[in-house]
Symmetry: C2
Subunit: 311 residues, 2 copies
Amino acid sequence: MDNEQALHSVDRLLHDVVDSDVDVLRDASRHILEAGGKRVRPRLTLLAYEAVGGKDINEVLPIAAAVELVHTATLVHDDINDHGSMRRGRPTVNARWGRTFALLTGDFLFTKVYQLMAPFKDLNIIFAEMTMALVEGETLQAAAAKSGQLDRETYARIIAKKTASLFAGAAKMGAILGGGTPEQVSALEQYGFNTGLAFQIVDDILDLIADSQQLGKTAGLDMAQGKGFATMMAGAHGSKPTTATAVVNVDAADPLAAFKQKMMSGNYIQEGREQANQLATLAQFSLNALPASEASAELFNLAQQIIDRDH
Amino acid sequence: MDNEQALHSVDRLLHDVVDSDVDVLRDASRHILEAGGKRVRPRLTLLAYEAVGGKDINEVLPIAAAVELVHTATLVHDDINDHGSMRRGRPTVNARWGRTFALLTGDFLFTKVYQLMAPFKDLNIIFAEMTMALVEGETLQAAAAKSGQLDRETYARIIAKKTASLFAGAAKMGAILGGGTPEQVSALEQYGFNTGLAFQIVDDILDLIADSQQLGKTAGLDMAQGKGFATMMAGAHGSKPTTATAVVNVDAADPLAAFKQKMMSGNYIQEGREQANQLATLAQFSLNALPASEASAELFNLAQQIIDRDH
């Protein structure tokens, strides 16, 4: 089974596992799961498994599916909090089924994660920790949005917890189940963490650009302008922020919109891109701990794709 | 360690496990957990463990705590959906911290359940199934409230899934970990299921009475009036409803309030009480599969307390 086939198997498993005789849970779960998405996280798990020499890809499918499910559960809940109306080109669960069912659908997906992970005793501990970090990261983000302030250290904590922890865990679990040595497991965890940080930085940049295009405010935006975005992110891979007290103060009426405007006006985007590039390079460097293989080459390319993508 | 001490240990574990460097998650979790509550579910787990001869109560504490946590997580989410303002004599998390943080606090508690349960491989499967049933039951209830219709079969499905599954699982896991024979495990699971049904029926009756007292509409309410509540519940322990199509149609403007009014006007409450009494008797009967012990006697009494309680 090649990687694409394995991803299809993950999709089938996701389809099957959310079956329920409670129609709305089944329908809403499939609505969001089958809207597509990049499936970066399950790919990480599958590739990490293969990269350390794992032989039976079927054994790792439930973990890859669980990783995608926990991510999806938080998306469904995020869309309640953010009042998001579209997700992956479809109406959000919240927009289509209302808040109560969106909340319960997210909870349902969390319980399905339990079910998928139940047979994997030791991996459950890793899974629990990364899920906890994910929820903590979301909470820090909500607290920052509410306060209208976001300093670099907080931004770094947020993206480390809400995104990089899940990427790291996804790769680590695949590597453990595939029988990797401690050094290989650690290298793949590091790879996941750094690609996760890079992924989120790029996501935030794309979000800024997309928003501005929608708003029609920033046509002809030059990528090489302003500064500060990357500076804010300086703590992201462990270096100290150059000015610990640097804070972006934003309009309380719509903190995120105002914050984004501020971002667009500086050199933030170019520096963010550079930061993401460095993280991807670091991630690729970690792969030296692995034997040469097709999976390892795919991981190398994946890090590049994460920073090159335009959506 | 006697049972009260063990429950205190569960409380301490709950306090400790929700610690987080994200202040709002820690504070909101402790706010709801430390408001008290009857702790019926963790008691079930502890007593089931002891009733089958379990020797080291410490090993079952994480499961008892996880059972209480998953219950608490759903309470926090329920209070978002129901706009509840008070819970256990305190403001709800939703009322005090707002919807976003209430949603994330519920998610956080779900992740802590994972963490507590991670070491218990086989029990995780039971835990996942009962949690899934719980969320399905909540969803069926929300769907019924939305449609403004609730027939007996649906009511029975709802209380079986949302309450009895958790009671059954709580007792079953305690019994398995305590080394019970398959017959004992099954008896305690049945005990939990039937006390769970009885508990929920009594809860619904108390809710009707409490509401009416608050509203001042039903002073001097006679318990022996009307009929239909118990009939609606007839499917609850497996018997067929006498009229499969019996449906209580309620006012769409406030379906639950109208539904409750309808309940109050019939013989529902007395029949509900009788149903709960039968279920408690069935539960007590299951205990015959166990050797005589203090824990078994406490379980016998617990079934009685569940139907006798007035709050």
